[in-house]
Symmetry: C2
Subunit: 367 residues, 2 copies
């Protein structure tokens, strides 16, 4: 008899459905035998990375044979100064997915509960399940986090609450007022994790200043990334800001060399190049306007978004529209895995990319 | 009352002693105000990375704003062809420490036991503890794995056995005969993980051919790395070879984007540059001879090693010798964390580095 090594695995691992990433450009071009496909599927920065970050990364390659500085000494110095926090409040990770994983490994045990909103970024429920946690999913309100609903879902078993702000893939956000309501209403032994991957894109007076809130609520953790506005998704760098005690725990739970040197050095240079961030945000604002106007002309509904993406209701099977767009060489993201059966998420691209998407959509929708 | 967020953490995380990495060159130079320090402390490749791998990495930087291919399609193709295994037998990780972590996350639960040898690479017991596993440490025999002892330590609770081959930091190895004895003696529901980080350095007829053994023993997993002979430690890339069923589980347990693009692309080019591997192995063999002869002249004891490092018994407090060597600008590794109180581990360097180490050691030991 052959032994079953799938059955032998921890059941919360073997039962996982792997995350479906956006289709890579090379894969589509290989499949269709085409060139010049565009990818608006993974909320990447269409402007690319900061040239200064790339120069730093090139130089860093010369030391590829040395192990990274596991403590990310220089990056933490630069980041702490930029954010006006202490270095011992920081935890650096292999992308913010690694940071989220470290938080769960540290604070979630078999049978503990974690509260998330319906439509929250799919990696979060995936990680909760993979740590044996019980997933409490609270229905969304107009595609947005229902904060009173999430407060009501907290029980004695709850260890973690996740707020994705703005939320991916809906683009909706939780206001300062609602976040304070949450923090005031729950016991302080429940950790509130704010995933702020798109934080740098936002200029809204009622978007919460979480670094300030952390001074009053030490159970607040913030996660951010260099994969979006900083354009370094390939290199994998994310970080957490928290109270020093929580950071001490997270730094014990991480792998000794979880961050590669190239990412750490590129990120340091990227922080110091805020001009590139500004250019990215300007491009995003203009692109968002271009897409909204184009969609209005096509009389198509979308969810107003604060991120570098917009989610469109195509009012028909999203997968079919997605497939037709692929044949136009345009990769977007159907939201079937979120049970949003008629929605497509589209990343804001360059002016030309946005134009090409709108033309392809018009054609595909027969408008 | 201020809430204690350290106490709130899972106790197998908060009780961890973080891994102490080798001291970075920059740190020593900063502290002592010196330049031209050398580091023989982390078993890095003194020859550096393959120039072809670096060229590939430079080109890969141009796409830094795109997410990596989570499935590492191209790297797996190249690696599978090189190893003569199937792509679905491979799991790619953020260094082999990430691979070890994924194995434990998949196959170790709270209260399960894992068997290791005394003096096994310290990251392994650290990871076992951080997954709530019970650590069964079997005393070494002449600094080597005691295979009959490890067999005897297996109980119904045992899920994993780790064999580091050759072992870091002792350089000793487990023979084909002993490994077969182990595999024949234990139940097939116990997974045997062979950490072969230094595999490429070895030309010994009785060193086990684990890829061949895997065909008979599907409970065998092999982990390897690009941090040693391939000289890509900064980039973080390791991999596992296993049966397809185990690989399926490990690929569910990994993060969606656990491997950065630069590492994947550099590794692919590095595999194709086996000339660089050959040059590295020749340099290592010559350097090992140089160090052995130098140590013989100084009448100092060492443990014969199959890796790219050698462990020396200084017969006095290793930490004091380490400190004195630091003041000579030479960084090595005292093995106090392994409870080897009079041993120093020294990486094989270039001819000049080896010479400088021997001179400094002579001076420091008053020989």
């Amino acid at each position: 008899m052959v032994f079953d090594y799938k059955l032998l695995a921890n059941n919360y691992i073997s039962s996982l459905t792997p995350y479906q990433p956006g289709k890579p450009i090379e894969e589509l071009e290989r499949e269709l035998g085409i060139t010049s496909a565009i990818k608006l599927a993974s909320n990447e920065n269409a402007l690319g990375p900061s040239p200064k970050a790339m120069l730093a990364a090139q130089n860093a390659l010369l030391k590829s044979h040395f192990y990274p500085d596991g403590g990310c000494f220089l990056l933490k110095q630069t980041l702490a100064q930029f954010l006006n926090v202490a270095t011992h409040q920081l935890t650096i990770g292999n992308g913010s997915e690694n940071i989220l994983e470290i938080i769960m490994k540290s604070y979630l045990s078999d049978g503990d509960a974690a509260v998330i909103s319906q439509y929250a970024f799919l990696t979060i429920p995936l990680l909760i399940k993979s740590h044996g946690g019980e997933l409490i999913k609270v229905s969304a309100l107009n595609y947005s986090h229902d904060i009173p609903g999430m407060i009501a879902a907290v029980t004695e078993k709850t260890r973690l609450i996740f707020i994705v702000n703005p939320n991916n893939p809906t683009g909706t956000y939780t206001t300062d007022h609602d976040l304070k309501l949450l923090l005031e209403s729950i016991p302080s032994n429940v950790l509130v994790v704010l995933d702020e991957a798109y934080h740098e894109y936002i200029k809204k007076s009622d978007y919460p200043d979480t670094l300030k809130l952390m001074k009053t609520y030490p159970n607040l953790l913030i996660t951010r990334t260099f994969s979006k506005v900083y354009g370094l998704a390939a290199l994998r760098l994310g970080y957490a800001i928290s109270s020093p005690d929580i950071a001490d725990i997270l730094n014990r739970a991480r792998l000794p060399f979880n961050v590669n040197s190239i990412a750490a050095i590129a990120a340091e240079a990227a922080i110091l190049d805020q001009d590139h961030v500004k250019r990215t945000v300007i491009m995003n604002n203009e692109g968002m306007k271009q897409l909204e106007e184009g969609l209005n002309k096509l009389q198509m509904d979308y969810i107003p978004s604060l991120g570098n993406f917009i989610t469109i209701d195509v009012k028909t099977n999203a997968n079919e529209v997605y497939q037709k767009l692929l044949h136009q060489g345009v990769i977007v993201r159907p939201l079937i895995p979120y049970e949003m059966m008629t929605h497509l998420r589209v990343t804001i691209g360059t002016t030309d990319q946005n134009e090409r998407f709108l033309k392809s959509l018009k054609l595909v929708m027969g408008k």
